[in-house]
Subunit: 244 residues, 2 copies
């Protein structure tokens, strides 16, 4: 039995997230359908994380155990030919039998794109949050640095998750600007349900004065979801890197 690690990229606008659901098109189901057409067998695939509806991935990983003997490179080409244009397989490598795309992940990086403009950019529709009020990226970068460290991140987790261990190690958190696009980049050993979107919502609430500055550490330590900011929309969020 081979254990294959696939790296894919997808524009999530048309999908109800990664995970297979009844009555909704998901990335996992679409990928499984494409693979089935090639290897003539329905295989279950294991993703590196759930993603919300409308969230994108520059890089996403999953593994699949299979009896198929088709070489990795041929699988990439063949599966891409079966996938719609908003999902691409970038890579496929063979891993040891015990490898698990979720449990073995050491580090993930997310990006959140904010179009800081009064006027929408037609090319960023569904791909960034349109935010028309001033944003000071240096100030927000300073604030974001307070996310770094190993903490119980319950205050940055929406209900709906069954996770018991809510401690996560945030390695880096940065805010930068290129033209009118402001980007929040965060890496950690793992993320709770909606964690990045609540981080972004909190930074925006600090920017607007709704939440006082220099309170992120207090919010984390409170472990109280009500202390943190709103949940920023899914459309600006990109899973950007997955490391094993």
């Amino acid at each position: 039995m081979r254990n294959l690690l696939f790296t894919i990229s997808f524009c999530g606008t048309a999908y109800h997230g990664w995970q297979v659901q009844n009555n909704a098109v998901t990335v996992q189901q679409t990928v499984q359908d494409a693979i089935e057409k090639i290897i003539r067998k329905r295989e279950n695939i294991v993703g590196c994380s759930r993603t919300d509806a409308g969230v994108h991935a520059n890089m996403y990983c999953f593994n699949m155990k299979t009896e198929s003997l088709i070489p990795c490179e041929k699988l990439v080409t063949a599966i891409n030919a079966m996938l719609p244009d908003d999902i691409s397989v970038l890579d496929c490598v063979e891993k040891e039998e015990s490898f698990h795309a979720r449990y073995d992940c050491k580090r993930k990086e997310y990006k959140y794109l904010i179009l800081n403009s009064k006027i929408n950019n037609p090319f960023l529709t569904d791909r960034a949050l349109l935010y028309p009020y001033p944003l000071d990226e240096s100030f927000l970068d300073e604030q974001a640095k307070q996310f770094i460290g190993r903490y119980d991140y319950s205050a940055f987790c929406n209900s709906g998750s069954s996770v018991e261990d809510t401690v996560r190690n945030v390695f880096s958190a940065d805010v930068g600007r290129e033209g009118d696009t402001v980007t929040f980049t965060v890496s950690a050993d793992g993320f709770l349900y909606n964690m990045v979107r609540i981080m972004v919502g909190t930074l925006l609430d600090i920017s607007s004065g709704k939440i006082p500055e220099n309170t992120i550490k207090d919010i984390i330590l409170s472990k109280n979801r009500d202390m943190a900011g709103c949940t920023a929309p899914a459309c600006g969020l990109y899973l950007n890197k997955v490391e094993y």
Copy 2:
């Protein structure tokens, strides 16, 4: 009677080009519909050029004569509220009564995006040409320089145009690369029907060896469409700048 110059941006994927047509959704019609909802009158608008189905615009200009007294800034906000997410009004200014968006245009710049990769980028679907064979951008930049000058560009014009004067002055032509995206940028005092797409097709045919190198000047002077290369797909083309 006021004469207003509007600058817009649009993602052209969903449209059959600029120009109003029967039985097809176009950018002009969509914009006229939005304006009608605001000024309560159907006004004809005059675009700076026709564009093909699927072509995009980072910048596109049109003018409109109107009795409406709504200030320019308010028009921008109000019309944007009526437009779909793939078209945005960026600016509106008042011009002299004789101003004409097409005839008064001094210079236009187009960009053509090529994703030079074997694997599609889901975020560039319908926004770039996927080209899987090697491209040497320095070599193509040298070749592209031969487009510069004032010539009869009939060899780079598909049939279907009623234009009689086929002389155009090409000011600049450059090929560059950023990662796996190769961009052809060209500016001129005007362009013939499909001219940029045939320029790109010719460069790609030179790259693949189908057309010999250093023959662009000969092709121009031949005034023979059959000498030039294929017409590259519309999806990679962006009107990028319009100058008056």
